[in-house]
Amino acid sequence: MAETEFAVVGGGLVGMAVAYGLQRRGHQVTVFDEGDIAYRASRGNFGLVWVQGKGAGMPDYARWTRLSAALWPEFADELKRKTGVDVELTQPGGLDVCLTDSELAGHVARLEGLRDAVGGDYPFEVLDPGRLRGMVPEVGPTVSGATYFPEDGHANPLFLLRALLGAFRAEGGRIENGGAVRVITPTQGAFRIETDRPWEAAQVVLSAGLGNAKLGPMVGLNAPVKPNRGQVLICERVQPFLNYPTVQIRQIGTGSVQIGDSKEDVGFDDATAPRVVAAIARRATRLFPLLENVRVVRAWGALRIMSPDGHPIYDRSTAHPGAHLVTCHSGVTLAAAHALVLAGWIGGGEPEIPYLETFSGKRFQLSSAA
């Protein structure tokens, strides 16, 4: 006899969005959260709700990302209504500011390729330095321009996590903090979850971030995810000067400036490294010279969960029906789609979005066999 209908393994932004989405549809869900010994990508997230540039090589990922960005306003309203937590969503459009002409040309080519791949509807704009300066007067004198996508935005990832937890609990969901899930064993029509004690679940959703690589094969699913480190600097609160989020820098409403966008392959090391921090700061001061006089008050490293092609993996096991897997490196951007759409797919009983099958982890088995 199963103790819970769904066991969601992992209580980060991905797991909580799916868990909340299932619970609000009337399913009975228990989330298994490892605790603060875990890598906690959701606590280190940059906070962008970002569309532009995503989906090269997989147009369905571009469609999916845009769908989530479009769902975000109603999703943020719903969370506010249910929990009182304002996740600080704004979607004024986002900028990717380039320092060289070749960098800008590369970005434009990528966005043109995406526009063609999705059939023409992909409303990005290319801004020359003059137009860019009209939108953001504080931009540096050496920038080459920027690409702008009107659906981009940002939110506060910590408030989002808090709101998801609150909304999930308000709907009757349960959270177990009994440590890591070590083993999942398919039994007759159910799953045995080994954590501080054995649990019995009718269905299981793997949303354990980097832990999915190990847990997936236990239920016949493939998620060869690897860590990719990003480092983030937080500056003191200053008067607002940046009204648009950019890929590298965003300023939140209360004044803090967040700087990031480093990418490193350093395994499971989530520390900060002075060389990278310095490079991030140097680029930031070229983009916005006024930052030279602004103090950094915190820095951290966090590990993105990267699949081999960088796109999400959504899958369900054919060998062990009832086992599902969800992973991505855009837990904020995709939170709305995960809660409002993907949870319906996982829960069954609703018309499925046809292209979700595209995200199956089987694509990596095929490529490794080739």
């Binding site: 609160r237 008067q239 000067f241 004044g255 006024l290 006089n293 008050v297």
Partner: protein
């Protein structure tokens, strides 16, 4: 706000007397005082308002960690008052919300 202080100095018979100003008012300090210590000894407990809620804040941890004691010291905004020693004639002002920022001025010393 200024009132009698809840903090009392240890008896140190020999000290160098210094004066500074806080929002234009003269504050008596001692050599070796941090700006935050001199202010709370003088009964000043509110030295800024927060950028988030506008609530009053004052020196708290006294060791450079909490960032509650941000002040404008000799024209430089958002300086931690607990990490700067009083110098004779120093001009200290309270901060209202987030600091201003521009290319031109307000360079942090050090």
């Amino acid at each position: 706000m200024v009132s009698g202080s809840n903090f009392h100095r240890l008896p140190e018979p020999e000290h160098k007397g210094l004066t500074m100003t806080f929002d234009g008012r003269t504050i008596e300090a001692r050599g070796g005082d941090s700006v935050a210590a001199a202010l709370i000894a003088a009964g000043v407990t509110e030295t800024r308002t927060t950028p988030v809620s506008g609530a009053a804040r004052g020196p708290y941890c006294m060791m450079g960690v909490c960032f509650e004691c941000l002040m404008e010291i000799d024209g430089v905004q958002n300086v931690q008052g607990c990490m700067v020693q009083v110098r004779e004639g120093m001009s200290v002002r309270s901060m209202a919300g987030a600091r201003t920022v521009s290319d031109a001025g307000n360079t942090h010393g050090g």
